[in-house]
Every structure is written in C-alpha cells, then in structure tokens.
Symmetry: C2
Subunit: 342 residues, 2 copies
Amino acid sequence: MDKLLLDAGSGGLASHRLVADLFLKYFDNPVLAAMNDAAFLEGDPQGRPMAMSTDSYTVDPPEFPGGNIGSLAIHGTVNDVAMLGAEPRWLTCAFILEEGLDMAFLERVVQAMGKAAADAGVIIAAGDTKVVPRGAVDKIFINTTGVGPILVDPAPMGHRAAPGDAVLLSGSVGDHGLTVLGRREGLSFEADVQSDSAALNRVVKDLVTELPEVHVLRDPTRGGLATTLNEIAGQSSTVVRVEEKDIPISPAVVAGCSFLGLDPLYLANEGKLLCFLPEEHCDKALEIMRRHEVGQGAVRIGSVIDPKEATYGRAGQVVLTTNLGGSRLLSMLEGEQLPRIC
Amino acid sequence: MDKLLLDAGSGGLASHRLVADLFLKYFDNPVLAAMNDAAFLEGDPQGRPMAMSTDSYTVDPPEFPGGNIGSLAIHGTVNDVAMLGAEPRWLTCAFILEEGLDMAFLERVVQAMGKAAADAGVIIAAGDTKVVPRGAVDKIFINTTGVGPILVDPAPMGHRAAPGDAVLLSGSVGDHGLTVLGRREGLSFEADVQSDSAALNRVVKDLVTELPEVHVLRDPTRGGLATTLNEIAGQSSTVVRVEEKDIPISPAVVAGCSFLGLDPLYLANEGKLLCFLPEEHCDKALEIMRRHEVGQGAVRIGSVIDPKEATYGRAGQVVLTTNLGGSRLLSMLEGEQLPRIC
C-alpha cells in the first residue's frame, strides 16, 4: 500500500496493522508496546514535581532543510518541558492524517520522530492515529505532549527574571523561520539556511544541575526572540534590555530577511534557548552551554533592569540598544508573520 | 470579532488575547494561569506510577445531541487514563482551528470543555493553539492528553483477563456512534438518541479501590464493543464469550442500526466501560457501577474461557452466543465504518 487508506484510522484491524508495521517499528519500547488505553509510567520515588507541555505541529511544508514535521514535533515538546528545568522523559504522539497520504512520506516522518526521540533520550509512551477524509486536513498534523520530573527547586520561570540578571542566548536566531518560509515559497536562498530544530534537554540538565541559580529558561519559538523577551519582561515586571550588535544572526538569515522585508527577531527558532541568571554566573553558564553542539554559539545579549532605574522603557517592556547606539522599544509580535511555521 | 483571524495563532499579541479572553475564562486554574512553556504539576509524595494517554478529536459534526467536540475531548481522555485504574488529574488541551471559525461556536466548545473538566475533577494544566489558513483543517480538531496516578497495583490491563473472569458492561452500546452519524446525515431518528459521552473516572476509582481484584478496564470507543473485546482476548490469549441477549442496546439504536445496516456492536461509545474480574466479585462490581449515573445500566454480558476448554473459538477470539442459541465468532472491525466518529 503506497497511499494511506481511511480505514487505518478506524480503531479496528487496519489501525492495528498501521501501529504494528509503522509506529512500533520506529518507536519501539516496552511502554508503548503494552498497547493499553493509557501508558504505564514509572513513578518518581523522590515525588518531585513534574513539567507537562503540549504542542500541535502544522508546519507547511512538512519537510524542510534540517528536519521534518516529525523531528520538529519531538524537539519542540522536549524543549518546552525542559524549559521548566525538567528532564523530559515520556512523550505522547498523536497523528491526524489525510486519506491518500503518501506512505513513504509518512514513514520518513515517523522514522525522524523515532530517531529524534532516541537522541533526546525520551520514550514515546502512548499514541493515537486519526485518518480523516481527503480535504479535512492538509496532509499531516502531529501533536506531542511531554512529561518529566523537574530537577531544581524553585523551577526556572518567567516571573523569576530579576534586576541584575544577565540575558544569554544559545545561538543565532531566525534560521527555522526563514528556512520554512524559503522552502514554502521556493526561494533561492534556501540552500544557505537550514532549520535549527534540535533538542535542548541535555544543555538544560547541565545548566540547572550545575547552576541552580538559573532564573528563567525559555525557547524563542513562534513570535521569535522579541516576543519571548516581552513575555518574560511582562511576567517579571522588569525591563529587559538587549544589545542589537550582540544578537547572533547568520549572514544568510540577514540577507534573506532583508530581501523579504522580515525582521529576524520575530522569526521562529526551534533549537535555541534564552537563559536569565544572576550576572556573576554568566561566564559559567556560557561555558556549560558551549559544551554542547546546540550551544556552540552561546552569547550574552543583555541584562534585566529595575524599572525604577531604567532610562528607557517601563516595567514589562523590552528595549533594544540599536547598532547605532540608540534605544527603541522591541514590541511583541503584532499580527501574523508566518502561519504554519511550526 | 465574530470570526477567528489567522493571527490568533501567531504566538504573539493576538494569541495572548485569545488565551486570556477565552481559554483562561473557562479553564481558569493556577497551573494554567502561570503561562510558562510547560505546566508545573505537583509531585506525588507516594511516588506512585502514572497513567498517560493522548487522543485527537476530529468528530464531524462537532456539535451533536449529548455534547460537542469539547466535552468529548475531555471525557475521552479522562476515560482512557482511568482505564489503567488511575485517577486522571491533569489534562493538556491543544486546538487546531481553521481561520474564519465562528467565535460563538468556539466559545461553546471551550465552555463545554471547562464544564466537563470541572465535573470530572481534572485540571487543564497546559494548552496550545494553532490557527491554520482556511481549508487546511475542517473547522476544529482538539488534542487532549491526560496524566494521573495509578491507584492500584497491579494496574488493570488487557493481558490480565483470566479464565473464570466475568465480563461486565456499564450500560447500552452504540449510542454515540449512531447519534453522530444521524446528525451528520440529517436522519430523522436523531431525536431519539443522544451521545453517551461522559466521564467514567469516578466509577473507576470506586471499582479499583473497593475491588483491587479488577483485572481489566477498557472503554469500547472506536471499533465498538466487538473490537475492544477482541483486543482483550488477543492480549490475554483467552477466549471471551459474550451473550447477545445480555448486551444492552436501546430500542432507538436497534431501530437506527437496522435502518442503516449497521451493527451496534461495532459503533463507538464514549461513556461506557468493560470490566473483567473474578466471578466471585461480579455482584459487588455491578453494585458499585450502578451507584453512579453512568453505570445505571451495568450488566454482566459474558465470561472469559480457557482456550483449552472452549467448545468454540481459539485463544484471542471472541465468541457470541446468538439470540437463537448458536455460536459465532465476533471479529475485530474490518475496514472503516464511520470516519470522524470521535
């Protein structure tokens, strides 16, 4: 069978065949293989709190340089769970598939998911497959939901950003957003950029275990760096100031954004993290991040400022020191820059 | 705004407004309101194992007698988690919405979810919203994923069905499947039937705490009673024999199925459970089930038989004693009876 048939989502015999032939082949683990209504997860003898996060992936096109919707669905949710200072351990994975879907494509997606999960050290514990008639969905949507114990108390959270914190970024921004847009539009710069989609859980584990002083971890996905910084400034009622000259952006992304009239600070990233922590731990944190391939480009990009002492900007605002030395507010994303970017 | 705009899924300002105005309004709880990348869940001081389950809901039409896609998405996942003898505690909820969706309809769905979650005693801990361009999805798909501690050791599972077990069913079958189909096709019998969509976690909690001897709990959703019985027979390598005369089916469902040429034993249910346990606990289990409104119609429908002693059927098969006294194999659902039934 080279095209997916509607009955593969029936819950009956054809569904069981799809699960056995495809999902168990690439996701094989004893938890999933038990095939009950719910997965049985080991308890945590330490009774630690858990982080839980969900995301649906609708990226268009579903295959792009640097990954596909399957690897993205693993990385995105692994990262969201990790951002609470947690160790993502179990993921669920739910497919909504369009009748007639090319089976070779589906296998590539599932294979990429299996590899991404194994690389990140997480188990796909439970799944679901729905097949809907042609036209009811555009090819494939995937939901992943992740759970894992939180490694540090208190957990890093947006409201904990505090005056005096350094703001660190693990690498260049804009790569994922520009890559997907380029692929969608068939633009010629696509050869120079690829998605940064990657799992950040190992760098997070090192950060929070070696530096429990970390205040905030957040990955700047939809809405980009600018939107994520605004969320943190808002949650902590601080002013976040970042230096434009220190924000790493690859030459290809600069060129592509210039050509398309896009601002890379609003483009989605899928393998980068922001880390806020007291200034004195800045060098150590950068050293930890750079140990990992995904953190090679880690740099400090700014500081958290007490609103009462800010020369520009109010509580909850993000201020950019421009390359020319001026200051301007960096607002949250307004409108929709790129639908279906993740 | 009476139609959903694309920018509500941007991750930016419009997304934040949708979350604040709609989701937090109906799902309000401190875990969700913290608005971090992942939800912070309390640990379990007893370190008990957890059950985790995921399901995507694509039901067409999304509103039907007895519920809508929102209440169904809560009940379905609450029930799947419960079937492992667990107490569902936290749910995530991810929406994929079509640009231009009627906002009043979306509010009805979200309101129904909030009510269903509160009634079942579960918290919606984290969420995600994607808005895709018109045509990329049919109105609304919802994923819910649930987690909660398992209350009994060993947990009820399909492979634990054992010769000598009684097979109990909590009420009539076929109501959900026939209702949705009737609504979709605009058939006139629809006034007489409504979906049985309901949360089963409270009856499960009573069952497993008062009768830890329960071997299997399973809700017969997609594929219906026949398919679920086959799964259990297969996992336990037993023969399951059920009595056609004892399987409760409402007169309206019998009539509707007869008219449409459908077999109610293959129609989806969304508020029924199967319970397998040693014969001597049968009466007590029925008494517990009947205490609850969702278990009013609980009855015994059959038994588990050692394949070596079975007069008909092999290990992994389900045998139906027909109303005429004969025996026939009841197979798993082949093909697709009703796409988008849940």
